[in-house]
Amino acid sequence: MTTDTLHPLASEYLERLRRAGRRLPPARLRELVTEIEGHLSEAIDPNASDAQALTVLDKLGEPEAIIAAETPDPDELPARRGTKEWVAIILVLGGGFLIGIGWFVGLVLLWNSRAWSTREKWIGTLVVPGGLATGVLIGRVLLSSPTKHFCYGIVGGAQRCTSSLGPRIASPALAVAVLVVLVLASIATSIYLARRAA
């Protein structure tokens, strides 16, 4: 390790650089550290005085400034989770209850955000379209009253009523199961979106 032949202040500087660069991609940090190490070993004699070493380090600048220069512009990075992303997640989950259009507003926000990839946006859209409201609606339909009454009268005759089977197509247990699955899938999708945008 060439660090042994560096001036102690230069070694300390490199250590600060490594610490400051923890969030860089490892290959980028390694390259940067190698270059700066070369600079330090050429510019500072291992036996130089501290004052000479500090003069070189001053010209080099703060390690944090070098790391900042190496860090890509925010524009190049995918956006992180902000207020808009939270609103999108909440509306995609529960917006269906807001006069029906809340979910669509959520979708617009979801698709306009740069925090998610296209694949993640499709997952947010298609896993449970409508979100929680869909689960609740389907659950209610499945559990709804089994009968409906149709009455019609014949002029001058007795009124007749028929009772037809309503849309009760499932046992309560199945209805509850469908409800639970849809609600859980909606919540899981929201958690997935929140984590992917983090």
């Binding site: 700066i36 070369g38 600079h39 070993s41 600048g61 400034a65 070098i66």
Partner: protein, 116 residues
């Protein structure tokens, strides 16, 4: 306030021209990183912190305007030598033309006191 605006403008200008200064230094042949950084650091008013030039060199490598080779140095760790690629040579050629025009226009305006 005026000083802050001037500082911002100057640092943006520096950022804009620095990479072409690196390319210009390589026109006559290859140089290794430390040589490049010292040459730029010694130029009056061009570089405030030499360390931030290393990320710039990395960007030039990724853009494909320079190529690099590592070679042993007579003393200390190996050195990374930079040279222009054909793309880099074209880039600096084009910039020299543009810069001359830009500089002449700005000089003329500043000289006439148009901008104060």
């Amino acid at each position: 306030m005026a000083a802050a605006i001037r500082e911002t403008a100057i640092s943006q200008l520096r950022r804009g021209v620095l990479e072409f200064c690196v390319l210009a230094l390589l026109r006559d042949g290859e140089r290794y990183s430390y040589e490049l950084v010292r040459a730029l650091g010694d130029a009056e008013g061009l570089v405030t912190t030499e360390g931030t030039l290393y990320p710039l060199l990395g960007r030039l490598r990724r853009e494909g305007v320079v190529d690099t080779t590592w070679r042993e140095s007579p003393s200390g760790p190996p050195r990374r030598y930079y040279r222009l690629t054909p793309d880099g040579r074209a880039a600096i050629g084009g910039f020299v033309t543009e810069w001359t025009r830009f500089r002449d226009s700005v000089d003329a305006l500043l000289g006439n006191g148009v901008l104060g």
